[in-house]
């Protein structure tokens, strides 16, 4: 599926749109981390929770759970909700 990468993670992927696979958000991030080592821990903490300010949208709808189901034709947006200075 297509995954849109936010600019703070471009140092890993080098491009905004990448392809990755997975039946859940957890699996998708595992595949992204396999392709781009280190990316997952910047987004997901050691308790397998989304870090504050990291948001996931699937086909335009925000999802909150790591077990949210995905299908191969979904489009996933990873967004950094920027705040502070």
């Amino acid at each position: 599926m297509k995954v849109l990468i936010p600019s703070p993670l471009l140092s890993y992927t080098k491009e905004r749109k990448v392809e990755a696979t997975g039946a859940t958000i957890t699996e998708l991030l595992a595949d992204l981390d396999r392709q781009y080592p280190g990316l997952r821990f910047r987004v997901i903490d050691e308790q397998d929770q989304m870090r504050p300010h990291m948001r996931f949208f699937v086909n335009g709808e925000q999802v909150f759970g790591m077990t949210h189901s995905l299908s191969p034709h979904d489009e996933v947006l990873i967004v950094q909700a920027l705040s502070g200075g």
Partner: protein
């Protein structure tokens, strides 16, 4: 991830020769000053006389870098503790003095708890300490919230170290985020006895000073004599707030400590800290963050006092910044402010933002919360600003290459 870095050579303010000085011995090795800031890191390469500095950076622009440390065992490996305001924490590693960087494969992280449990999450790595000279490639890291980690492969992979991260007593002493400093409670001042790699100290802000004599298998508090905020019980380890602890390289049985409640000295095997800050001028007090020791003289140490009155402004007392030095183990203190601003100056210096090199005479360096880097080539007699307009400075280390 591999990065290249920008480099530029500039003459820093204040570096112009002012007077003719007596010839002095040129040091054989050059000083490299490592500056960690809220928005990235800079490396300043000194010339042989420490008068001009070549600036290399920014590295990791936009990253919060709490500590940047050179491995003294190989003289070329750098570790940087970094995160951004939004991405998770990591460690970057360079084996070519910052020309290229690679990210740690497994940064410090707490153990995963079973589903449904409430596990801790490393917000940032705050402190980096190379292990003993006889343990090449081994490092310790302290985090916020408080955790102790170790790497045995030069900083590529990190594991929780010792029992303290999950020990119920230590977890009580660590308190919660609500008990910590404004940007999170810290584990810091990880110290390795140069005579014995199994003899370790660390400090927690808050949570006291702790010692291990068995290579970190067990730790015990060492807080006797340390004061706590009035009205609290000093017997409760959680109430102790050491800001910075340093061991004297020339006498590893002597430690100095800058605490939330004063300046202390400890001479082992005693376990009784002595509040040497009571000898500081009353109008200045003995509150501050950093503590710096002399590389060859255990009676000499420097502090940078801040205003710890009323609501704790944590600025230079009376708007007049100054370093203070003791030359006799804390019996007397001398003000060292020549060259520093004399009024209306409201910055301060954070706990790992002041350090000394090992040259003769010793060079001192401190970075301010307003992004200025100051140095003295004569052990504090005269200060010069060598860089300004940097982001808020969190860490300053002086290495020799």
């Amino acid at each position: 991830m591999v990065r290249s870095t920008k480099k530029s050579a500039i003459r820093k303010p204040g570096s112009a020769a002012r007077t003719t000085r007596a010839p002095r011995r040129h040091p054989a090795r050059r000083v490299l000053v490592l500056v960690a800031t809220r928005k990235g890191a800079w490396l300043l390469h000194g010339d042989a006389t420490r008068r001009t500095w070549r600036v290399d950076g920014p590295h990791f622009l936009g990253h919060i870098v709490n500590h940047l440390v050179l491995d003294p065992r190989d003289g070329r490996t750098l570790l940087a503790a970094a995160k951004t305001g939004h991405l998770g924490p990591t460690i970057f590693r360079s084996t070519d003095l910052g020309r290229t960087w690679k990210e740690a494969a497994r940064p410090p992280a707490f153990a995963k708890v079973p589903d449904g449990g409430k596990g801790r999450v490393v917000d940032h790595t705050f402190w980096l300490t190379p292990c003993h000279a006889n343990e090449p490639n081994a490092w310790y890291a302290g985090t916020s919230p408080q955790g102790l980690f170790r790497s045995d492969d030069g900083g590529i992979t990190w594991e929780p170290f010792s029992v303290i991260n999950d020990d119920p007593r230590y977890r009580t002493w660590m308190g919660s985020v609500q008990d910590g400093t404004p940007d999170g409670p810290k584990l810091h001042s990880i110290i390795v006895d140069p005579r014995d790699p199994a003899h370790l100290y660390f400090a927690m802000s808050g949570g006291g000073v702790h010692e291990s004599i068995d290579g970190g298998r067990t730790f015990a508090p060492i807080v006797k004599g340390m004061e706590v905020v009035e009205g609290f019980d000093p017997a409760n380890i959680a109430f102790h707030d050491p800001h910075c602890v340093r061991l004297c390289p020339s006498n590893p049985d002597r430690l100095y400590q800058q605490n939330h409640c004063g300046i202390y000295r400890l001479d082992r095997p005693s376990k009784q800290w002595v509040r040497i800050g009571k000898n500081m001028p009353k109008r200045v007090g003995d509150i501050g963050f950093p503590m710096v020791v002399h590389p060859r003289d255990a009676d000499t140490a420097w502090v940078f006092p801040m205003d710890g009155t009323t609501v704790w402004p944590r600025t230079s007392p009376d708007g007049k910044p100054s370093v203070y030095v003791t030359r006799n183990g804390g019996k007397r203190w001398q003000r060292l402010d020549s060259g520093l601003p004399t009024s209306q100056t409201w910055w301060t210096v954070k706990r790992q933002a002041m350090t000394a090199d090992a040259q003769d005479p010793v060079g001192l360096y401190f970075g301010t919360t307003s992004g200025e880097l100051w140095m003295s080539r004569d052990e504090g007699k005269r200060w010069t600003c060598i860089a300004r307009h940097l982001p808020e400075i969190y860490g300053v280390e002086a290495a020799e290459v």
